[in-house]
Amino acid sequence: MAPPAQSQRSSSPSQPSGKGEVSDLKSQLRQLAGSRAPGVDDSKRDLFKKVISYMTIGIDVSVVFGEMVMCSATSDIVLKKMCYLYVGNYAKVNPDLALLTINFLQRDCKDADPMIRGLALRSLCSLRVANLVEYLVGPLGLGLKDNSSYVRIVAVMGVLKLYHISASTCVDADFPQTLKHLMLNDSDTQVVANCLTALQEIWSAEASTSEEASREREALLSKPVVYYFLNRIREFSEWAQCLVLDLAAKYVPSDNNEIFDIMNLLEDRLQHANGAVVLATIKLFLQLTLSMADVHQQVYERIKAPLLTLVSSGSPEQSYAVLSHLHLLVMRAPYIFSSDYKHFYCQYNEPSYVKKLKLEMLTAVANESNTYEIVTELCEYAANVDIPIARESIRAVGKIALQQYDVNAIVDRLLQFLEMEKDYVTAEALVLVKDLLRKYPQWSQDCIAVVGNISSKNVQEPKAKAALIWMLGEYSQEMHDAPYILESLIENWDEEHSAGVRLHLLTAVMKCFFKRPPETQKALGAALAAGLADFHQDVHDRALFYYRVLQHNVSVAERVVNPPKQAVSVFADTQSSEIKDRIFDEFNSLSVVYQKPSYMFTDKEHRGPFEFSDELGNLSIGAESAAGTVVPAHRVEANDKDLLLSTSEKEEIRGPSNNGSAYSAPSYDGSAVSAASQALSELTILNPSVPGLTPQSNLAIDDLLGLGLPEIPSPAPAPSPPLLTLNSKAVLDPGTFQQKWRQLPISLSQVYS
């Protein structure tokens, strides 16, 4: 039925399989290739569209490569664009055919129309064919010097693409240095931003093998470069602003004044409608103030409102990303958000991923003053039609109960859950009551009275059943029916599918036996017999162990099974504070959304910006020694002045034991100051040439900036005189600045002027 592959002309257009249609296209394209008839471009457009649509849905149309290239001789820009798209998609798998395209792409790179030059250059660099790189260098070099900014923008990205195809070709052609020059001199901000992007990627990749590259990478974080970008930040597109803010977040200012200047300059970015800009700004503020506990806390206060506005203004997806960050901050400093708890109430139409985050935040911010209201609200959710959320809500109530001192009212609520007679509510509540009793044994009487009324037949979920059985064993003295309930459960031993429940049953019946031997003896015998015959290894072993220990000595057995218990004071935390700090360091990244540090979900080579920051300690050496000041001493002095914290107190805050405090400087990044100074001293021993080298690279920058400064005067490193004084106001001292932070956000609009 299918026509032979060669005779393309005979293939039927009605052929349903993609193959027939593709060969049909091929012949039609071939017919049009040489034609110069009027209207031929329109027919080509239709055919090209078909090719692209097949490509999109995944049909392989690489067989028409030759024809597409033949048809590309046209002045119609729409056709050209489609052709470029096609070529870019298939060149990689057809390197031989790709060679065909080089010719016309190179010709287009010299077209009079800058649009075509740019498009051709972009396609040329997107071919991703290693043996064609020799053809890229020439056009790229010209492109970087093109007088159209569009072409330069494309060329800069082209350099990065070339680097990924063949790093050595890119470096040998000295493109990185050309980019650096462009970055510091080009009048078009998009060119500048692309240079920064490309250089960050190239030098980060090169840094492991080349010392020069790692120096260059450090130089990107030097004061002149960072200031150069910060001072122009408003000229950049909102996306490029994010790039600049990310760069600045890695910069280590030399003193507190500098920190305040930077924050002063960027504060209006918190009012930006683009959430990405706001979060990048917040990240920068949090990083900058790590060494100043009081200001750091103010940052939390200041960013609250913008974050909440972002949460409620965007699409559900955007709010989720922002809310995840808010969640992280709430977890770190619940007390700062304790009066904002109503913002974390769930709305009925919110997706469950949002509700889950909100429930966790409600749990975290609960304190003496708001617990009553929060628990009341959570109880409303427990009756929710959305069962997973109802369950989470009950768990949240339980968690609040476990973290409070005054649990009176909460216990009543929990017990009400047990009376709601909804299976899942009862199940969750039982687990909670069990945990509660482990922590507050004094509540046993109230709880047991209610638990005793629950029919074990209504409890099916293994976790809940285990909890009920545990209580039956633990409180068999108080629960009148305990031995008999246990006995009936043991009778149905074979129907109990969960090994965990059977284990609990064994232990509970043992405990019951020591408290009420005559009534339990029979049940114990049955349980041990069933346990010994159990196919599950653990159940079998435990039954055997109980049996032997009873045989050996009953009083020893009692001491083993029923020792006096101490109330649990703290339940084991699921996440270590180190991991939490690590996530905080990776603020404004996926780590926050996943609640995992990046090393847990990314391969080494894809760690992106954080590969960069991994070596922050090292980087800061470059930056600080470049500034040429005796930083450590200066730092300590400044800290003492601002912080009212002695250095020893600071050490403590940095320690991993500190957990959840708002202004805890995380052990990792926050220690940059001391780590840097420490590393500095280490480094001077290891490699005494470093301090000598960095000023050199700094000089190179000054050269590029057009400053022929013979020395590096540390306080005035900058090219542009207004520096961080864009603000017409004089630089605010810390005190005034903090005052300012308490004002209404709107007064900040002055910064625009």
Partner: protein, 452 residues
């Protein structure tokens, strides 16, 4: 930095697929779609907008029933990528006039053209409709707006307010010319407020919030500067006091926003003095200002519910909804929903005599009562009686096992916050050609809930 971008239909077909860096395997679209689908089927609710499968991070946003997806292996800023996806959708809408599966399929070449200029090698270049104009050569193929269900803000205004509004104007492309060949000079300013209110069982307001946006769409030629004046008594920020501090603000009559943010193009030089925003609006639709308000406001609807047991297997629910806004205003597309006890088997409804445009339904699958009203005139009250039949005895727990009642609605030409655009000034030289200015208000329910 992203690796791939693609748009999937509701059924999971690729409509547009662009690989920028070749780092993620080709089958990513299928992997993504399967994951999203099963998330729902496993009863875990909607898939989160960001997740990781085998080291690949998938981001998605849902717009107009389509899935806009980006993938990357790098630990990027989630806000940046999700914002980008949303912007791409907006840019496409600006160019196509209407964004839906049909228009996207018809214009996929134009979309590819846009994508090439928006992203290069995975990095964002620009998402400005205006900047992109000079790079785009394809003409959009406009789909018929009337035939299709309209989505988003534009759709809001098309219902119920046809008299005032040229409904199609907001759905026209920024590049397509009018049939007459001449572009109409006009500008749209929409004040869209989404309100969230929770009433306690006794009718008190537990929480209330207004999330507002001043949305602008300009078709003015020559990029004139525009001045938007807001209420003189507008103030922002609540001076450190708790945001839910009711009672002290309602009397003063001023509008107090908790917080707001502004579009890049807005100049706030005079904002402190006379509450005016100055801007040169770029092409396309964009939010001039987003704001948030928790100040107490007059809720548009009051909901009353009465549940009476009528024998062991029967009960009656009486729902009363009252519109508390002026009679000159009419709300539309009202839907009242109420979950009923799971053992409810049958519901019969009784509407008021002479009721028109009402629909009633009992959704068997999730045991939910639904009451729809086409129109609701201000000041009026409507009642629904529903007789429930149960399969088991209720033990007096009906109230605990039903509710809460939720309501969705749209109220054109009404806003709760009393934020107003006092005037809209266009700095334009020629006096003869006076552009059309549309300033429109609309209030929508976000989460409007009454507990039982």
């Amino acid at each position: 930095m992203i690796s791939q971008f693609f748009v999937l239909s509701q059924r999971g077909d690729n409509i547009v697929f662009r690989d920028y860096r070749g780092e993620v395997p080709k089958g990513s679209a299928e992997i993504f779609f399967r994951k999203v689908k099963f998330w729902k089927e496993d009863g875990e609710g909607d898939a989160p907008p960001v997740f990781n499968v085998d080291g690949v991070n998938y981001f998605h946003v849902k717009v107009a029933g389509l899935l806009f997806v980006a993938t990357t292996r790098v630990n990027v800023s989630p806000s940046l990528v999700l914002e980008l996806l949303q912007r791409i959708a907006r840019v496409i809408k600006d160019y196509l006039g209407i964004l839906n599966e049909d228009s996207l399929r018809k214009n996929f070449v134009l979309v590819y053209e846009l994508l090439d200029e928006v992203i290069d090698f995975g990095y964002v270049k620009t998402t400005s409709t205006e900047v992109l104009k000079s790079y785009i050569f394809n003409e959009p193929i406009v789909v018929d707006a009337a035939r299709l269900p309209s989505l988003g803000a534009a759709g809001l205004f098309m219902q119920g307010s046809k008299r005032r509004m040229p409904g199609t104007a907001v759905t026209k492309s920024v590049v397509a010319n009018e049939p007459g060949g001449r572009k109409r000079e006009e500008i749209f300013v929409d004040i869209i407020e989404k309100i969230s209110v929770t009433f306690s069982s006794s009718g008190y307001i537990l929480t209330s919030e207004i999330d507002g946006t001043i949305q602008m769409k300009s078709y003015l030629s020559g990029n004139p500067e525009i001045r938007l004046a807001l209420n003189d008594d507008l103030s922002i920020g609540r001076g450190g006091s708790s945001i839910y501090d009711y009672g002290n603000s309602s009397g003063s009559g001023s509008v107090i926003l908790d917080d707001c943010n502004f579009h890049e193009s807005v100049h706030l030089d005079n904002f402190d003095i006379d509450r005016t925003l100055a801007l040169v609006p770029p092409d396309g639709e964009f939010p001039v200002m987003n704001y948030r308000m928790t100040q107490e406001f007059r809720t548009p609807f009051r909901i009353n519910a009465l549940i009476e047991e009528a024998g062991p297997l029967k009960a009656e629910v009486i729902l009363k909804v009252r519109a508390e806004f002026a009679s000159s205003i009419t709300a539309n597309t009202i839907l009242v929903q109420m979950p009923l006890p799971t053992y409810t088997t049958r519901v019969t409804f009784e509407l008021e005599p002479g009721a028109v445009g009402n629909t009633t339904d009992f959704k068997e699958a999730n045991k939910r009562l639904e009451w729809g009203l086409k129109k609701f005139v201000g000041g009026s009250e409507h009642t629904l009686r529903a007789k429930l039949t149960f399969s088991q005895e209720s033990h007096g727990n009906i109230v605990k096992e039903s509710g809460p009642i939720s309501m969705t609605f749209t109220i054109p030409m009404y806003n709760c916050s009393r934020l107003q655009v006092k005037y809209l000034q266009i700095a334009k030289k020629s006096k003869t050609d006076n552009p059309y200015r549309w300033v429109r208000y609309v209030t929508q329910a976000n989460s409007y809930v009454a507990r039982l």
